[in-house]
Amino acid sequence: MRWEKLISLIIIVALVIGGAYFAAKPIQENVKLGLDLKGGVQVRLQAKGTVTDRDIEQVMEVMRMRVDELGVTEPVIQKEGSNRVLIEIPGVEDPDKAIELIGKVAKLEFRLPDGTVVLDGSELKDAREEKDPSTGQVYVALEFKESGAKKFADVTTQLVKEYPEKDGVRPEQRFIAIYLDEELLQNPYVKEAIPSGKATIDGYESLEEARNIALLLRSGALPVEVEIIENRTIGPTLGADSINKSLDAAIWGLGAVFLFMLIMYRLPGIIANMSLVLYALLLMGALIALNATLTLPGIAGFLLSVGMCVDANIIIYERLKDELRNGKSLRAGVDAGFARAFWTIFDSNVTTLLAAAVLFYFGSGSIKGFAVTLSVGIICSMFTAITFTRFMLKLMVESGIAKNPKLYGA
């Protein structure tokens, strides 16, 4: 019996168990949960007709503003392909309102006092708040698209000509009202003809105020028509329910695997179970470090890669048994078993990894999450099997606590 080896063995086992115990909480707090576990709304929008990158960026900008109105934390708005936008809003109180808000066709109209519509939002290119550096005056700068610029030039020229100012009194007919979704947003007076397609609205108290107006104007300027091609809403109850059920399944499933490994492989079974715990910690750490999202299929992927982790251990132990049966000593058996098992584990895992990579490439949303978990899981399991299992097995053999090959399942 070599006491120092035995003591290291015990310390490592204690460290792994202690590590798992203390890491459980931080892991729970830091792992990012997908919408299917947390509850929330996922909407996929597609632009109609041909669109440019700029159009999509503007659509995303508009969506960002609309989603912000809901006051939720961490919404995700991302481009998909060339003409799609994916919006994920976790923890929404009123999903219907969110979908309605996202899908609404904001109608921005420039109207004359008699109600004639001069322009609509599709002809507005940009609106932003600005501050004159010399005077300190705050205004909103508008820029129209080509068609809009022309119309705006015509109308303003005509207004100025038809209704000249008398004694400094502003004629009522020279105002152009701006309506957003039938609500009066601004009612600026036309000071002069504006032929350039660039206009400014002044009279704001603060830059903040101007910014809000510019935002609202832009939100009405969806450059292309978009339609909701997919939406998924998961209520928070169902998400919590899924987590609980998955946890139950994990506890029973893993418990069974632990027991099975102990019965099948005796002492090395303990090492296998330790490496399973370590593997789970590594995987969770990697997911957090990668800022990956844990989805429901992701949990399934995690549990499945547990199978792969066990498999690597099983391959090693079966090899060890072979070597022991062939009359090798324990120590030589461990070395030979590992040398032979390595390439088997490598080849079999690479082929699985190929399938996961394909899944990642073609999948979207929760399926991508599954592919990530599975891939990271395979890599972590391979790593633990090659390093930790080997190290522990050698330590166990060298400590001399178990010399009987029967304790190794042979």
């Binding site: 091609i229 809403t233 998955s246 499933g253 099975f260 080849d347 690479v350 699985t352 929760s366």
Partner: protein, 289 residues
């Protein structure tokens, strides 16, 4: 056990199962979920606990949705209909609430027809790409005949899993596609471990008959194959029994796939390789190692 000598029996067994599966796929097809078909899904939980599917169906009649697929999941109902607009859906929910009492919308999904069509193409493409990559890798690490045998065994596993879902008329959705690809990953893993043994034994023994050598390789790997499958099955059964609705069908697909995969790895893949190999003496010279 003489795997190679009795291979005709195992081939026949596989063929019969495959025929039944393919027959079902052609005769009754798949029960495509809204992911593939487009449509709306509502999962509702009513305050009234003794509500039956029939009562709910009656409630849906007013909106012409009585033909919808309704499924009981624990204490909630999953309703799948043609695509409903936000407005229509609002009306349906209000209508149901006034008739059947207070309800909670647990889950709501709407998938347009574009997505479904895209998913079909993508899924098939993913399968194809996965297969080609596997053949390439195995040809590179082993030899082409191993790759071909492994991929045929995979095809067997995929058809059995898909056939099972067709026979049971379980729903096919995105997670099913993920399950199929995972099965491919898992089953190839299983097959490779046996092939790896054959490769190794070919290197060391020169005079052994190929049939005996293959048999021995399978025997040497069978405990590992079964142990790993049992470990994975524990997890899958736990997910099926205790997990939620979403992971349940994924796990069922995986379960069938793992069983088929274990069978094909042991009884089909190596035999196919044996049949593909013209030289039955077990000499290593034709093999790249």
């Amino acid at each position: 056990m003489d795997f190679i000598g009795k291979r005709k029996i195992w081939y026949a067994l596989s063929l019969i199962v495959l025929l039944v599966c393919v027959g079902s796929i052609f005769a009754q097809g798949f029960n495509y979920g809204i992911d593939f078909q487009g449509g709306s899904l509502l999962q509702l939980k009513f305050e009234k606990t003794d509500l039956t599917v029939e009562q709910l169906r009656e409630g849906l009649e007013e909106f012409g949705l009585e033909k919808s697929q309704i499924q009981l999941s624990d204490d909630s109902f999953i309703i799948k209909t043609a695509e409903l607009s936000q407005e229509e859906q609002g009306k349906v929910l209000k209508g149901l609430e006034s008739k059947l009492g207070k309800l909670e919308l647990l889950r709501n999904e709407k998938v347009g027809p574009v997505i479904g069509k895209e998913l079909r193409t993508k899924a098939l493409l993913a399968l194809l790409v996965a297969w080609i990559l596997q053949i390439l890798y195995i040809s590179f690490r082993f030899e082409f005949r191993f790759g071909l045998a492994a991929v045929l065994a995979l095809l067997h596993d995929v058809i059995v899993t898909a056939g099972f879902f067709s026979i049971m008329q379980y729903e096919i959705d995105v997670t099913f596609v993920a399950a199929i690809l995972t099965i491919i990953g898992y089953s190839i893993n299983d097959t490779i471990v046996i092939f790896d043994r054959i490769r190794e034994n070919l290197k060391f023994k020169h005079k052994e008959e190929l049939a005996a050598l293959t048999n021995k390789s399978i025997r040497q790997s069978i405990v590992r194959s079964l142990s790993t499958s049992v470990a994975v099955l524990f997890v899958l059964v736990a997910l099926i029994v205790l997990g939620g609705e979403t992971t349940k069908y994924f796990s069922i697909a995986m379960l069938v796939g793992v069983l088929a995969g274990t069978y094909s790895s042991i009884f089909v893949a190596s035999s196919l390789w044996y049949d593909f190999r013209p030289d039955k003496t077990g000499k290593a010279h034709s093999l790249k190692v």
